[in-house]
């Protein structure tokens, strides 16, 4: 039995300003096992990045609040940890890759120094400088950059190469959990294919658990074992990749997402987008968040918040499945 490395329980995150409160994450729970990859997919403003930042406790100070929830990393509640304890986890046990590599690289330090810095911070007491230098060469080679480029500055690298440097930095301390927030969104498709292949190979080799945050269902399908679909700060559907991509029953929002992507294989005259827009995150309604845009909306959806319907690993937060997520064939038999 594999061990749970990360467990998030009923997490809520709010951003408060003088004028209003933004309900960014509204009670999400998920679990990640060692060596597994979880894909968190959703559109802008769904709360994907906020979720990731709260795991690392990197939310902006003063405006962000976590009124409820627990985040267990290897059995320890991260939300109750002191800053100096957290520092031993950040970068060392949990590492993060951001969308835009330039924002996480220091423009006036060579890439070698930056990787070395992370190593000195986390590994200094265990090793000699020469050994650390060797490790820098190793990680650079691992992500496909010639070690003699470590004396170069970030601006001397292209977008794809910079993202490789950031990945090298993240993996330098051999973290047990890697959070990748849209790691390839800023890259061209052929470069994206290179980087994704590299991430996949490294993950399989190093057995790192990973959270892949993306808006691209294609990336999720190609890299993730488990998938969580987020909408307006909630996990509206989750399960194994097979549950999300192969099962017949889905949350109407998930169906809408799939209907919005033009297929490469089948010719479709028209796409089936989801009407309307994501709800205002400063408002809280009693009903289902998706009700105003839902093509299958019922009276109950507007008044009561749906519970998760569960079938094995597959969970759907929708009133349609309040009797359970049954296969249509079984339903026919019952009738």
């Amino acid at each position: 039995m594999t061990e749970t490395i990360l467990e998030v329980k009923d997490l809520e995150v709010q951003y408060k300003t003088e004028l209003e409160t933004v309900y960014a994450v509204n009670g999400i729970s998920f679990r990640l096992n060692e060596g597994e990859t979880l894909g968190i997919v959703g559109e802008t403003g769904a709360g994907k990045t906020t979720t990731a930042l709260s795991v690392l406790r990197l939310l902006p100070e003063r405006v962000s609040f976590i009124p409820k929830g627990e985040i267990y990393f290897q059995g320890q509640n991260l939300l109750e940890m002191k800053e100096n304890e957290l520092r031993k986890i950040r970068g060392e046990k949990i590492a993060m890759i951001f969308q835009d590599p330039m924002t996480s690289l220091n423009p006036v330090m060579t890439v070698g120094e930056q990787i070395l810095e992370a190593l000195i911070f986390h590994r200094a007491e265990k090793a000699e400088k020469a050994e650390l230098e060797k490790r820098v060469d190793e990680v650079l080679t691992m992500v496909g950059i010639a070690a003699d480029r470590k004396a170069d500055y970030p601006h001397q690298f292209s977008g794809g190469m910079k993202q490789r440097v950031v990945i090298a930095m993240a993996l330098a301390c051999e973290p047990e959990l890697l959070i990748a927030d849209e790691p390839t969104t800023a890259l061209d498709v052929t470069i994206q294919a290179q980087v994704l292949l590299m991430i996949r190979n490294l993950r399989d080799r190093l057995k790192t658990a990973m959270i892949m945050i993306t808006h691209d269902l294609g990336i999720v399908a190609q890299t993730c074992d488990n998938v969580a679909v987020m909408y307006a700060g909630e996990l509206i559907e989750s399960g194994t990749a097979e549950d999300i991509f192969c099962a017949e029953k889905h949350h109407p929002y998930t169906e809408g997402l799939f209907g919005s992507i033009p297929s490469l294989r089948v010719y479709t005259e028209r796409l089936n987008p989801i009407a309307g827009l994501m709800p205002d995150p400063t408002e809280r309604n009693p009903g289902c968040k998706f009700a105003p845009r839902c093509p299958k909306v019922m009276a109950i959806c507007r008044s009561s918040h749906p519970e998760d319907a569960v079938e094995n690993t597959h969970r759907i937060k929708c009133h349609l499945y309040s009797d359970g997520i049954t296969d249509p064939r079984k339903e026919e038999e019952r009738l």
């Binding site: 559109e43 802008t44 292209s158 794809g160 190469m161 061209d188 498709v189 052929t190 470069i191 994206q192 294919a193 290179q194 994704l196 292949l197 808006h215 691209d216 269902l217 294609g218 990336i219 999720v220 399908a221 190609q222 890299t223 990749a241 097979e242 991509f245 192969c246 809408g256 997402l257 799939f258 209907g259 919005s260 992507i261 033009p262 297929s263 490469l264 294989r265 010719y267 479709t268 028209r270 796409l271 089936n272 987008p273 989801i274 009407a275 827009l277």
Partner: protein
């Protein structure tokens, strides 16, 4: 019937050996380097390629928003390359453009209705301003903007609605030809699908001709009748949409098509052709095939000689020494 068919297949916009070089510190940057395209009336030509391949430059050069360095652009068979400013201004009523980020192409201090009416007022499309505003209000219906938004400012709107303003502005002078430069790239998938449907409906209704520039291959396949694949200022392959996806000929196109992550877990085992390296510099490019440094099939001739752009099958053009 035959006449109608001829009418349909008539070429609206054509480029011949179109070139655009930019002078930069290191020499000449060959952004667009001898591209021949033909766009049929009422159809969509998709231009696809990665950053820096010259796809946006082509779009802008065709409208002469930037002046070409060489070659010819013909609209309905007539060259527009030597038209003077006032004649070109007349031409541009027929040729419009929609930009990727509508927010950077509109005046933030104008309200939605003013923005949509702006071109009509400037061009004196209608006798009075009131008529222009009337028409602008009708356009809001056409592009799916609620009329209650007439007096709000663009910063109050989301990306999808801003893009609808961009579309309404492009439509306001009743053009025949619209260059769509990455119009959905900044939008979320569900909003992207709304805008794509809108563009396709408008095309059907008004018989518009599109040049659709994007880096997103599934979008380009969905909307285009023909697709041109660009690499470093060159068109390396052009075919009908179905043909290109079924039988890609150029090694770059092949790699590009397998590189797309598909939303289907059955495709996990799909073999991805990962092209090595990165795009080489477009500044003073070396002779020979531009793709040679990254190509797996590269032979000696590829370094020496530039491949001709030839028809290998009906309507299927490829620029590669080893295709068909």
């Amino acid at each position: 019937m035959i006449l109608a068919e001829q009418e349909e297949s008539r070429i609206l916009v054509e480029t011949e050996n179109l070139k655009k070089y930019f002078k930069v510190a290191g020499g000449q940057l060959h952004a667009v380097d001898g591209v021949n395209l033909r766009i049929r009336r009422g159809k969509t030509l998709g231009i696809v390629g990665e950053s820096g391949c010259g796809k946006s430059t082509i779009g802008r050069t065709i409208l002469r928003l930037i002046e070409p360095s060489g070659g010819d652009i013909r609209y309905e068979g007539k060259s527009i390359i030597n038209l003077n400013n006032s004649a070109m201004r007349e031409m541009r009523k027929k040729m419009q453009i929609i930009f990727q980020d509508p927010y950077s192409s509109i005046n933030p201090r104008m309200s939605v209705i003013e923005l949509i009416a702006e071109f009509m007022i400037v061009n004196r499309q209608y006798a009075t301003k009131a008529q222009c505003f009337n028409k602008a209000a009708q356009l809001m219906d056409v592009v799916g903007l609620a009329r209650r938004l007439a007096n709000v400012y663009p910063h109050e709107l989301d990306g999808g609605r801003r893009q609808r303003i961009g579309i309404a502005r492009a439509l306001s002078l009743e053009p025949e030809f619209i260059v769509c430069d990455e119009p959905v790239s900044a939008l979320d998938v569900s909003i992207q699908a709304q805008i794509l449907n809108l563009l396709m409906d408008l095309q059907k209704e008004k018989g518009l001709t599109y040049m659709f520039i994007t880096h997103n291959l599934s979008v380009v396949k969905h909307i285009s009748s023909e697709i041109a694949v660009m690499y470093l200022g060159k068109c390396v392959e052009k075919a009908t949409s179905a043909q290109l996806f079924e039988e890609p000929k150029h090694p770059y196109t092949k790699a590009l098509l397998t590189a797309i992550p598909e939303p289907d877990i059955a495709m996990r085992k799909k073999e991805i052709i990962v092209i090595k390296g990165e795009v080489t510099s477009p500044i003073n490019p070396k002779p020979g095939c531009r793709f040679a440094p990254r190509c797996d099939y590269c032979q000696e001739i590829c370094w020496r000689e530039e491949p001709a752009y030839k028809e290998v099958k009906e309507q299927h053009f490829v620029a590669c020494h080893f295709s068909g």
